[in-house]
Symmetry: C2
Subunit: 556 residues, 2 copies
């Protein structure tokens, strides 16, 4: 007879895109599923990443038994450096997930203190009063699991991110049987399921569907081939290596995230690269154009990414020339459209043949998330008493919930939660109780151009301490020229001699502008990021302060 | 024998979205086709609209014979108030187009001085050395024409915006025959064709395809029905009125742009509304929910639009309640995704049933622009010596150009132009000659909440004269509370007693914040726009200055 109550406490990811983090509490024991980040909205100028407010976990510090990761995407592991500086608890993840985590922690000098424990699909382990069974699922990343968490009140299943790919490229099948067994036993209290694609009808195509398009692209390209995908898309990178081998092209990895992810995947044996296929970016120029395939980071038009820089011809090794082919094997994350299309326009101006997701078949990208029919399939297999849609903006949770309500034979009751709600379960049923503090913590981790930099937690509440600096630049968009001396507006930031500081800051900004091409200056994202990075380096060096730096461009 | 050269001079719209404006010059005579605006990028805080730099026309003022409009969309007529303050020339357009223009000019007190001349499809008219034949085309708006411009060097055809809708809802067919005749005569020098949908394969569905979805929606809705579409979508508004009549619902028009467009269309007889169907927004509450259909502006999540305000429950008449249906019968204009999805999330939070374009069939929206097969059809009919893709961002022009290059039997030579290029034609052929000044003029026309306000041309070059004011507000996103006294940063803006001004400005901003709901405060777009509008009213009133006002939100 269960003596305690079970609480599900979403700390992020329910009603917002990213920042996934869910606490599961039974009595005095808490486990945390995932600790992800969110990329900031464009309104939040000057912020690099956003992580969940974990006040609830900090207040219950001694109860937290560990963090269990479902997979290695940033929106599931990206907040770990920040969380682990607050909580010294073990982190559980699969081999590949932990390899990504190790890299991340190492960057922030946190690896030595971390307690990482490898888990495997199908191998149960205990954590406090919970027995956790990781279940193999398919997704755009490798080595992903759902979690079946056995509690005294029944089994809680958390799907993580998933799709039901019947033909995964690594032949590691979605473990339908284990989901089926849980459903048959009839002991599933709650199913928490990924809502990302709740708006999409039908089935998400298999990752293998991309092969047809890649084959067509490799067969047709007669000069350099640049392929960009999410750096964590190991399936996609593997495919590109296979095709490159078949079509006798060397492969260069360009961009830090792409290089890191590919190296981890190769180290762990996710794919083999025969001797001599992989070349260094510096060697690209040594081979004939039709012998080279460049895997390059930057599908989202991020201003400082390798592909964005190549598009405006300011990347050292990745030079895109007339007749080259550039493939964007990715989706457009909402909010990034303008930046991505700006980059695509630049690529066309280089007279490259640009291939991006235009709805044609075979597709150049497929989603990693389950569409409606897959979501229904899992509900039918699992037959939960309670269903909670997770991982989605409000409309996605709502559409997912409405769908679940129509699943009369398989879903008992549907509960809608948002981040901060606390859902309590006992033998009598389920109810929403109090709310806990949740929110978004903005982190300014320094320019992404620095290869390694300490993690700096920059809560906006500290704004009054470090103040802010607004460099204001007037740019003639057409000519790409700067039309006036940069203005420097400051508040709450006493920098010794203010006059001297402003003079020096202006000089720095002018130097950055002088060192940028007209195309960079016409691309506000790029130029803002460059100004911010350079000014920040200067301010940190001369004052050891970390004010918020928000470049403002006035177009004239 | 032609004695002069023909110049085509795109002043906007080629290599950018919106701001369509094309000068056609033969010797000392210039005509201008369209004078559109562009909505500003989000980076351009504090700017309402963007219009083309018409230095070229101003320098050749005495040569300009008139402006000929293809149709009444903002990206084709929106710059007229600004252009007409610089050039006193006649404006030619169809009946419906001129009705929209009249409204616009009246708002800016420019109507009395304007020389508007009505044209009709099929009725040729002369302008300088040109004979112009307007050709009826189909599009999302009514009364649209392409222009066949007879010049001594041959016929130049400008398609305007079009699709080839075989079953237009107003039964005014696309005039394929006239296009065919021009092609048969073999005298078409240049075809300039709309590139908006050059990325889309196949055919764009007919406007009639939406009817099936609307029927389904009206049949199912058992409470209030809110329908939003582009206010210029007269076909769509007409359809909604027809369905409302069939399903016995009263119709209220909410939002200024929706009301204006519908009234013009009714005045001109585009559709009939039987007595008693149309009700005033104030009467919505007097009818049972299942008896009301509200046509409401704001498909793009514009912060101050009627629908955005209704979504956060701050619209006086349009109150959305549990079980109501909200239909977004429109596309997402790239760049607006975040704002639109934020609005949709708010609508779901009101527990409305929200229907938006999710790719399902029948569609809730169809495009007004030709897809690839329609574009090819027109090329085949017209058989131009030269082909120039117009109306599109660079990638769209490029894809359109590449497609045209594959049309061996029907297209002679393909020319790629961008805004500012000058293409010269004579008996020997065509060549790009000089470049002319083009660019974007930013206009801050005052808050859109003011019903009528003088047009204020606010070129950013005048920044140094009127300066800028940055109100900086720290908002706790979660709680929707304001966490500090607003900061006011100013430059180049001497406002008498600075201390007194700052104190007063802070008070204004605080009052705006106090008068806003937590939901409004959590929606940065809305709250920024409100602060800007209120602060601006105060500054104009007390100082008669018009500094740039850019609210900055710090999320904490």
């Amino acid at each position: 007879m269960p003596s305690q109550k079970l609480h599900l406490v979403p700390l992020g990811g329910l009603g917002e895109f990213g920042m996934n983090c869910m606490a599961v509490r039974y009595g005095d024991d808490i486990i945390v599923i995932d600790a992800g980040l969110m990329f900031p909205e464009s309104e939040l100028l000057g912020v690099d990443i956003v992580v969940p407010d974990i006040t609830y976990l900090i207040q219950n510090r001694e109860k937290v038994r560990g963090i269990v990761l479902t997979h290695g995407h940033e929106d599931h592991i990206g907040a770990l450096p920040w969380v682990l500086t607050e909580l010294k608890v073990p982190v559980f993840g699969t081999e590949f997930t932990l390899a990504l985590v190790e890299n991340k922690l190492e960057e922030h000098d946190l690896l030595d203190d971390a307690d990482l424990r490898e888990i495997r699909a199908g191998s149960r382990f205990n954590l406090g009063p919970f027995t956790i069974n990781p279940i193999q699922v398919t997704h755009s990343l490798v080595d992903c699991v759902a979690l079946a968490i056995h509690t005294p009140l029944g089994v809680v299943i958390h799907t993580g991110d998933f799709k039901v790919d019947p033909t995964p490229t690594d032949n590691r099948l979605f473990d339908l049987h284990t989901f089926a067994e849980y459903g048959k036993e009839g002991n599933v209290l709650v199913l928490m399921q990924d809502s990302t694609n709740a708006e999409r009808r039908g089935y998400t195509p298999s990752e293998r569907a991309v092969r047809g398009k890649f084959d067509e692209i490799f067969a047709r390209a007669d000069r350099r081939l640049f392929i960009s995908c999410f750096s964590s898309s190991i399936h996609r990178i593997k495919l590109a290596f296979e095709m490159a081998r078949e079509y006798k092209r060397k492969v260069a990895l360009v961009g830090r995230s792409m290089t890191e992810a590919a190296e981890i995947a190769m180290d762990l044996g996710y794919f083999d690269v025969p001797e001599g296929v992989l070349i260094h970016p510096g060697q690209i120029k040594d081979f004939a154009p039709q012998q080279v395939c460049v895997m390059i980071s930057g599908t989202q038009g991020e201003p400082m990414s390798a592909l964005s820089r190549a598009a405006v011809d300011s990347h050292k090794h990745a030079r895109i020339e007339k007749g080259d082919t550039v493939v964007l094997s990715s989706r457009i994350i909402p909010g990034n459209e303008k930046g991505i299309y700006r980059m695509i326009d630049h690529l066309f101006r280089r007279e490259a043949d640009v291939i991006y997701d235009d709805g044609s078949n075979p597709p150049v990208h497929v989603s990693g998330h389950a569409s409606q029919e897959e979501q229904k399939l899992i509900m039918n297999l699992v037959k939960p008493k309670f269903f909670i849609p997770i991982h989605g903006e409000y409309r996605q949770l709502r559409i997912h919930a409405d769908m679940a309500r129509s699943m009369h034979g398989s879903v008992g009751q549907v509960l809608m939660l948002e981040s901060g709600d606390v859902m309590e379960f006992d033998e009598l049923g389920a109810r929403k109780i109090e709310k806990v503090t949740v929110g978004r913590i903005c982190i300014d981790s320094g320019s992404r151009t620095d290869v390694v930099e300490d993690l700096v937690i920059k809560d906006r509440r500290h704004l009054s301490e470090d103040g802010f600096v607004l460099p204001i630049i007037a740019i003639n968009k057409l000519k790409g020229t700067v039309e006036s001396i940069p203005e420097i507006v400051m508040r709450g930031f006493a920098a010794g001699s203010e006059e001297g500081f402003v003079r020096e800051a202006r000089r720095i900004v002018s130097a950055t502008l002088d060192g940028s091409t007209p195309e960079e200056k016409a691309d506000y994202g790029v130029i803002k990021e460059k100004i911010r990075a350079d000014l920040k380096r200067f301010i940190v060096k001369t004052t050891s302060r970390r004010p918020l730096i928000m470049p403002v461009i006035l177009e004239i």
